[in-house]
């Protein structure tokens, strides 16, 4: 009998312990799920968390573009820039820096494949009247030690009504310091390349470029922008 009488007392204690355990379980689960959700969203936004690097770097100063902030706006459901698209845009941006900016100051000329990154709508402008602003062909080969730095590449994406990203803009700054025939040369460039798919490739469909060149204490500036399609 005594043993039966003794039962309520430990039961009361175990009930309290159960409640504490339940509360801890619920609280802990909430925290874990919230943390997991944040980590998951962060991973999705950053394309898997791996720092993307260009597949090919073709310059002797060792300038490698790195991916920075990514922001996506959507006309429909939430959209994200998939990792292969991020990679394609970063590769094309690196190619532009190598072929149009660094090749002229390293070797004296723009590389032939420079035009490859541009879509049909802007290729004529990029290789024609905007070439002087888009490339360093006018600066020409620099002497001595070249120093080139770049900001991280910011990506802005635009999702369509279905949440599919159809436009990606890459924005970055490139600075080059070297020595020309008349003394030190300083080049500061702000580049915005907007990419869209064309024939299964992400190509530049619009651009905005601003460049400031300082030589012998003289500063010149140039801007170029293009990006329209045919409307009949």
């Amino acid at each position: 009998m005594a043993s039966w009488r003794a039962v309520p007392s430990p039961r009361k204690g175990s009930k309290n312990a159960n409640n504490v355990r339940s509360a801890a379980l619920i609280g802990g689960s909430i925290v874990i799920v919230a943390v997991l959700a944040l980590v998951l969203a962060k991973l999705i936004g950053s394309g898997g968390g791996k720092a993307a690097k260009p597949k090919n770097v073709d310059n002797s100063v060792g300038l490698v573009l790195k991916l920075g902030a990514i922001d996506v706006q959507s006309a429909g459901p939430p959209a994200r820039i998939k990792t292969p698209v991020q990679q394609a845009v970063l590769d094309a941006s690196q190619s532009y820096v190598d072929d149009a900016i660094l090749a002229p100051v390293e070797k004296g000329k723009v590389k032939d494949k420079y035009a490859d990154i541009f879509g049909r709508g802007v290729r004529d402008a990029a290789t024609g009247h905007d070439r002087a602003a888009l490339t360093e062909v006018r600066t020409g080969k620099l002497k001595g030690t070249l120093r080139a730095t770049a900001s991280k590449v910011r990506l802005d994406g635009m999702g369509n009504q279905t949440g599919k990203v159809v436009l990606v803009a890459a924005t970055f700054v490139v600075n080059v310091n070297g020595k020309g025939s008349g003394g030190p040369v300083k080049i500061q460039r702000l580049t915005e390349l907007t990419f869209a798919p064309e024939d299964g490739r992400w190509v530049v469909t619009a651009y905005r470029v601003g460049v400031k060149r300082t030589t012998n204490a003289q500063t010149s500036a140039a801007v170029a922008r293009a990006g329209t399609g045919a409307i009949q």
Binding site: W4, A41, G45, Q73, A75, N160, T194, A230, I231
Partner: protein, 318 residues
């Protein structure tokens, strides 16, 4: 004694069952709460990472690509001049119909980075009726046909907006700055302005655009004033779209408030880039030559005026 033990044992079993049920209910509740909080957290994180247009549920505006218009994203390079019709309809709560009370035909010449906006008074006669009646009977397509027929051009795009849409869109972009050219004191439209540069909200812009009683030429001047508002709006848009992020934001805003017909994001983007490429001081705002009458006849020089406009979308000699 045995019976007492049996009864107590049964009571204990009952209590255990009750406890089990209670625990099961508690576990289920905890599960549901955890899932709900998890989904909410995921949603919050998702929204934090991405800009999602919040559905307003209201369609303020319709942007329509009309028949026989090559897709703007054909990506074959900017070439031909094209024409956009801007329609402000008079549809508002308590007022039936949707006549095209504000009509502006914009000719864009991408090659020359120039544009001309023809302001067409609503009472202009077309096919024996006032031209604004077309919108009430056949919508933007019929209105585009009527205006295109009057001027002699193919209209590629029509933008149709009502009073609410007009004010909401302006407010959505934070209003704009414009130079009010003259004083206005009109109780009907609620337009009370002193001349000079001022910030316009959607409501103020609507009042400014509706005032016709302050002018002897009534709707003719009002139509031209609406053109001033459009130019100020374009200037504001160009400022907001100075970066790709700004452009994408504007497109997102349009998607929140506009119904797009035969148009995609890429079309809008390319159209926007075209408009951005034209400095506002290269856009002429001109009212078409008007004669007289209740159903306004065209002025004497109208044929030459329209011919000057339709060859390259720019009015050069008038």
């Amino acid at each position: 004694m045995k019976l007492a033990i049996k009864l107590r044992h049964r009571t204990r079993t009952k209590r255990t069952m009750k406890q089990r049920v209670k625990r099961a209910v508690l576990a289920c509740t905890a599960f549901v709460v955890v899932i709900a909080v998890g989904v909410a957290a995921l949603g919050a994180a998702w929204l934090h990472g991405y800009k999602v247009p919040l559905a307003s549920g209201a369609t303020y505006m319709r942007i329509q690509k009309l028949g026989n218009t090559t897709r703007a994203d054909a990506a074959t390079g900017p070439t031909s001049p094209f024409f956009i019709l801007l329609i402000g309809n008079d549809s508002r709560p308590g007022v039936g119909g949707s006549r095209g009370d504000a009509l502006h035909l914009v000719g864009v010449n991408p090659k020359r980075h120039k544009a001309t906006m023809l302001d067409i008074p609503r009472d202009t006669c077309w096919n024996g009726d006032k031209i604004n009646a077309a919108n009430a009977t056949g919508g933007a397509t019929a209105q585009a046909d009527a205006v295109g027929g009057l001027v002699g051009v193919h209209v590629s795009y029509a933008v149709d907006v009502d009073f609410d849409g007009f004010t909401s869109m302006i407010d959505a972009v934070g209003g704009f700055t414009m130079n009010v050219p003259f004083a206005m004191h009109d109780t009907d439209s609620g337009a009370f302005f002193s001349p000079g540069v001022q910030h316009m909200t959607g409501d103020l812009a609507l009042r400014f655009s509706r005032d016709r009683h302050d002018f002897p030429q009534s709707d003719i001047i009002r139509t031209n004033n609406q053109g001033l508002v459009i130019l100020a709006g374009i200037a504001q848009m160009q400022k907001s779209a100075a970066t790709a992020a700004g452009e994408f934001h504007l497109i997102t805003l349009l998607y929140q408030h506009a119904k797009l017909m035969n148009l995609g994001v890429t079309d809008l983007y390319r159209l926007g880039r075209l408009v951005e490429d034209i400095p506002v001081n290269q856009v002429r705002n001109v009212t078409i030559p008007i004669g007289g009458g209740n159903c306004l006849s065209l002025g004497g020089d109208a044929p030459g005026f329209f011919a000057d406009f339709r060859d390259d979308a720019i009015l050069e000699h008038h």
